[in-house]
Symmetry: C2
Subunit: 404 residues, 2 copies
Amino acid sequence: MARIVQKFGGTSVGDIDRIKNVARRVKAEVDRGNEVAVVVSAMSGVTNQLVDYCTQVSPMHDAREYDAVVSTGEQVTSGLLSIALQELGVEARSWAGWQIPFLTDGAHSKARILEIKGGEIDDRLKKGQVAVVAGFQGIGPDNRITTLGRGGSDTTAVALAAALNADRCDIYTDVDGVYTTDPRIVPSAKKLDKITYEEMLEMASLGAKVLQTRSVEMAMKHKVRVQVLSSFSEAPGTLVCDEDEIVEKELVSGIAYSRDEAKVTLLGVEDQPGIAAGIFGPLAEANINVDMIVQNASEDGTTDVTFTTGRADLEKALKVVKDNMKVPYRTINTDKGVVKVSVIGVGMRSHAGVAQTMFKALADKNINIHIISTSEIKVSVLISEDYTELALRSLHTAYGLDAA
Amino acid sequence: MARIVQKFGGTSVGDIDRIKNVARRVKAEVDRGNEVAVVVSAMSGVTNQLVDYCTQVSPMHDAREYDAVVSTGEQVTSGLLSIALQELGVEARSWAGWQIPFLTDGAHSKARILEIKGGEIDDRLKKGQVAVVAGFQGIGPDNRITTLGRGGSDTTAVALAAALNADRCDIYTDVDGVYTTDPRIVPSAKKLDKITYEEMLEMASLGAKVLQTRSVEMAMKHKVRVQVLSSFSEAPGTLVCDEDEIVEKELVSGIAYSRDEAKVTLLGVEDQPGIAAGIFGPLAEANINVDMIVQNASEDGTTDVTFTTGRADLEKALKVVKDNMKVPYRTINTDKGVVKVSVIGVGMRSHAGVAQTMFKALADKNINIHIISTSEIKVSVLISEDYTELALRSLHTAYGLDAA
């Protein structure tokens, strides 16, 4: 017997038939003799509708009232799924965040979890009752409903799995697992059986939108084994787990990409100590996220500094740089037509030559690299967006990831 | 300075523009220097949608889960109205039933109010904050959400007004008050300035669907002054109040009618002691509401018994009577084509001849009376449905109620 937390996203509970389908999935787990807690999102479209209502009433709405409004979507789904389970003869009850209680801080609309008082749910799971928990929500120190931010139901599920000492947290979604790269671009992409938390974090933050970054961080911290799988198929998914659980580590597990990149280059910056701090200090103060940074060697007493930021932040970043009189430069260039491609794998910690394989594969296709950055388990390059598909396919082959 | 509870129904908060309109009505009350608590229903259509979801999942759904699902409609409106009030510069916050808390018994989906812990709301009203309370809901002894049954928001408002010692409870609806009779049938019907609780109860239960019967009973019990008025006009409404507050009592305040009537006649019932108990006992046991009852004088050792019930209950009532072998009868007739017309007025307590005016007015129009029943403040007759409009117009004139 195992204890499983299952999480079903908005698409999986998008209408009444799908809710009934989810009930059958839950029952199957119960029939295998397992204890089951389920976390649900709002039916697809509902949260957007509620957010839109708040914005229509006032674009600058009170986050506490926003939370009271948008948290209802999950409350509805939890009640309906409980009814659907009862209809199948499975004992079940719904839990709103405040009933558990699921204690958070008071940062309304982006609250952080403090503690989950899972005692009563624990007791009921042992007696065979299924707990159906409304995701994405908790209760703050002011006794008012809080929400965890968009996609927060993944975090609810992982946190609940940690609090209940669950053996596994199954995240049901509309894809059937984590792939070596985007299968829409590289048809030979393979589904991974297992991936480490560290790799998944890199994949998630780089645009493989399968799991919320925050939920992966939480899973890593509490060693919660997370399985990503499809609610529309019976195929096994991908297990996100500790490195120890993966016997045969691949050199490279996957290749991620992100189109949400913009490049800024300052040409002819006076080359003197403190210029990096002078440029990036004001950007940090303006809450602009800077990702890759390159400073070229200088020859004539000036240097060129290039950095990347999210496309939505580009205009704001430009204004900050231009308003900043402390670092003189000759001219400034920007480029939105870039993409970041990353090869990821915990295996590269103990192997040399991983980056070289990447550079050679790209060079063979005449793809110019603008910027390179590396971490312990990742090598990222910025290239022209036009080459996205070609680069992904070439790298996928170069690292031997193509399906047989 | 007065303390006012305002209640806005589903049509009044039917879309975002209407919610903003309600916020202006609330602000006007605040600007008059009053303390204001507001009770809101779900946006029109929302509750029906949620009920429909529950029924689609399972026609025999768990009432506790039903309550968790359908109570969200009011939660959404309370949050949105709070945002709208803040947008107008009015300090406001939403309250779900469980936050107040609004304690009820455990009869899910038709809970009764036990106690309202209004202390915190009371404090905040004194400081000038508007409380926006989600109607129709409370919290049961099991720490789960309960609902008060359809139309329960009127009851929420009156109970809250009693708990907060409010000077008045204003029920905003889509009609602008209580009329002497249905203005769609009798164009000369007048809006009443005041009506007693007792009269309003008779009007409400007889089909003048302005206020929930239960909320009027509660208002009468706690002496809450209730004003019925339109959220779409500025005209003063009708005040439902104690008899003492009405100086000039009308003989007849209004004329109500109900089409939801069906007549059952048992002919040739053996005339012996206990036949009434023999007939109506089984009907009561089957939970069938019987309204008017007439037993004719017998001549040949048999008698005829006639009674009325709601149209929806007719088939069930017939089955009960036919299955009941203890009271023999010759034959049974039914008639769904009947209507009950009632003249209502606390003034008739001290005046004779009120019923006679009714009988004469109907006789003058050749309208045949099937059954008569009377109470202290009401005379009701059952007539053919075909004569509904003629009877209402004739009686309205006969009692001098026509607008000048």
